[in-house]
Symmetry: C2
Subunit: 114 residues, 2 copies
């Protein structure tokens, strides 16, 4: 089913929504829609793949294990999350959908770009 | 240099602007900023890699060789361009920057998603 990334949202956003947009070999592009969601306390994502993530709409705060400061993201901000860099979503805007575009990939990124 | 994808534009947009955001193995994420640009008449892109493209801002019209109708894109619209599917940019909005996010990848995408 074709969805417009910025306009077509599920009616029910009680749960975070994940939608694959492209899958090819080890590359996957996913849209994530959050609505006040955050990772459970003490939960860390720990992924085998790299994840490049772009915030398209809304606002969010990410935490990375060992980092003293959380990372605030607004529309147009992006961050590359290396494989096994433990991270969690500390906060997303409670009053509007927050839309992320995530590109999952295998391997090591060019350090000059990240 | 870190750029906000939606806010940081080059001062001079006489030429289309291309900026790599991620490069890892066969995957590359690029931001493209157009400002009234179009492909030259009779020019077709013909690429070895697949390209998944998302229009973030502005408006554009793509043409695909052999397709009777061009494809109009607005913010949030995306299209997957298979390797060697010949295409050109017929038009972009003349009065504002048009921002694209392109994910170049190797291989065949899952046809259920494209």
């Amino acid at each position: 089913m074709y969805i417009n990334v910025l306009n077509d949202f599920p009616e029910n956003l009680n749960e975070e929504n994940f939608q694959d947009l492209l899958q090819s070999g080890s590359v996957r592009v996913e849209r994530i829609v959050s609505h006040g969601h955050a990772s459970p306390p003490s939960f860390w994502y720990d992924q085998d793949d790299g994840e490049w993530v772009l915030l398209l709409k809304g606002a969010a705060i990410l935490e990375f294990e060992g980092d003293p400061e959380p990372l605030r993201l607004g529309p147009g901000d992006h961050v590359n999350i290396a494989p096994h860099r433990r991270h969690r979503v500390a906060w997303t805007a409670p009053d509007e959908p927050t839309v992320w575009l995530a590109v999952f990939y295998n391997g090591k990124p060019d350090p000059n770009l990240t």
